[in-house]
Amino acid sequence: MESDEGDEQQQEAERLPLSQRPEWSDVTPIPQDDGPNPVVPIAYKPEFSETMSYFRAVYYSNERSSRSFQLTKEAICLNPGNYTVWHFRRQIIETLHADLQDELAFVGRIAKSNSKNYQLWHHRRWVAEKLGTGAVNKELQFTKKMLSLDAKNYHAWSHRQWVLQALGGWEDELDYCQMLLGEDIFNNSAWNQRYFVVTRSPLLGGLIAMRDSEVNFTIEAILGNPENESPWRYLRGLYKDDTESWINDPRMSSVCLKVLSTKSNYVFALSTLLDLICHGFWPSEEFREAINALNTPDSGPLDSDLGRAICRVLECVDPLRCNYWLWRKSKLPLTVSSQ
């Protein structure tokens, strides 16, 4: 894919003022009209003013020609946030039946330094939509390239999700998520994408069919880094709408117990255990022992009710959110005693 900005940069270096270009000699540039008393007028660079003045001329006369097309490229390179220019470029593309593959290449060249520009991504989608399913591979490649620069780029992920749903290409997506998580197990976007694939891919069996292997994968990730928020949430998501199966899967509570036994990074393990208990899970004695063994200072003698005991520990070890844990404690179902 074209990430080399050489073309555009070279053009910038060799730029001839528009007033000196013979192909523009018949056009009268239109200067910006800020009115008689401009509010904080901007002192634009000469090439910017000139480019935009010529742009205004062709825009107002609705000239959809190849010179206008070239001019929109120059204007975009000067200010890629100018949505009016992008929009006019699209109109020109339609009128001239411009080559859409070339257009993808152009966007690809300026994407690296404009990776979070809404206009760029919108334009990319517009072109890809016109190309249809033929664009799948290029779009997956493109977003993969952008994500290799920033694996959490929201625009790239949105575009990729759109490509998959509108154009297809699901075959390697789970593997792709696997690879990204291998590079950074903390990448919440990759976890989200994994969920997206598991729940929506027409090539996989659906959430319930995938659940078992996904639970195993997620537990391994948790045990590797129990302080990682994403896999805990992912684990819960695997049991959406099925609380019964969730509390009855022994792996749910056992992963909490394993983490508690290490006596470190156990905040999410505690909150997950708390959630399980609140939904009807009956903790055996080893859970109480594991929590006792944490030996949290300031928490005082442990409450006889395990739910309350957990909340008390969380108030101490996660003090930023102590009001939340106090509230959770107040919402606990009243029990006569813990097991």
Partner: protein
């Protein structure tokens, strides 16, 4: 704890408007209307809206209006919803909304359909993404929760679940991030905080530590606030830092409405004058 260098921030904002030849002013020229909203609302929260010439601002804004009724980001650009919002907000600050031909109102939109779409973007963690299946993101959550609040449809939000997701955005430094495992950023003091307030769960974060984080993001010499301590300042983060402090009831600041992102007195003025 440090202090809010209010006077410095006022000076900074006024100076940005005048800094015409910087790189930023060129690439931002299409969104000057947004910049006007950020700068002017900050001034109003600090009680200093009179530092700008109201007539100059309003006449420039009106030049950004198109025959469709929409507003562009600057003179000569196409109208766009983003800038139309900023234009209305700025006019509201100056109590000049009535100069608009207010033919586009909530009753002209299919609110039910809009709510339906927003709900379809809800995720299992209680948060919202940009599209169905999109990752939960605090900025997106603000937009969805704010829209639901304005539409009177907050019952669609699982406040306890979302409240927890939001309070998990607070990191050790006291700042807030926008997604799990990302860095804190002052602008999330707005997106996360206003969302928490709209769902009545703001007491679930540690407010004092957040105040300290925002104050640490100030440039005490030249004014302005940055995304995180020691980075370069800009008007966008200055606005969200000050607005966040207002939501946290920092002394000396006008209260701000979490859904409309305008001072409460401005919002009240509009609602009480509606017939």
């Amino acid at each position: 704890m440090g202090e809010l260098a209010a006077d410095k921030h006022v000076k900074y904002i006024i100076s940005v408007e005048k800094k015409k030849d910087s790189f930023e002013s060129v690439v931002m020229e299409h969104l000057r209307l947004n910049g006007a909203y950020w700068g002017l609302t900050t001034l109003d929260i600090l009680g200093k809206l009179d530092a700008v010439d109201e007539e100059d601002v309003i006449s420039w804004i009106l030049k950004c209006q198109d025959e469709s009724g929409g507003f562009a980001g600057n003179i000569g650009h196409d109208p766009h919803v983003l800038y139309t919002l900023s234009a209305v907000q700025v006019l509201a600050l100056f109590d000049k909304v009535d100069i608009l031909d207010a033919d586009k109102r909530l009753d002209k939109i299919n609110v039910d359909k809009a709510v339906e779409y927003i709900v379809s973007c809800k995720n299992l963690d209680g948060g919202f993404g940009c599209t169905p299946g999109g990752e939960s993101h605090a900025g997106q959550i603000f937009c969805c929760v704010g829209a639901l609040a304005i539409a009177g449809a907050l019952h669609h939000v699982d406040k306890d679940l979302l409240g927890w997701w939001l309070c998990e955005r607070q990191v050790k430094s006291g700042g807030l991030n926008g997604r799990p495992e990302k860095l804190p950023d002052v602008c999330y003091s707005w997106w996360v905080l206003s969302s928490l307030i709209m769902i009545d769960r703001v007491h679930w974060i540690n407010k004092d530590k957040l105040v300290k984080f925002i104050l640490d993001c100030q440039d005490m010499e030249n004014g302005g606030i940055s995304d995180r301590p020691d980075d370069a300042v800009d008007v966008f983060h200055t606005y969200f830092g000050v607005a966040g402090l207002s939501l946290l009831e920092y002394p000396g600041l006008k209260p701000i409405d979490p859904a409309y992102a305008l001072p409460v007195d401005v919002v009240n003025r509009i609602f009480f004058s509606k017939k």
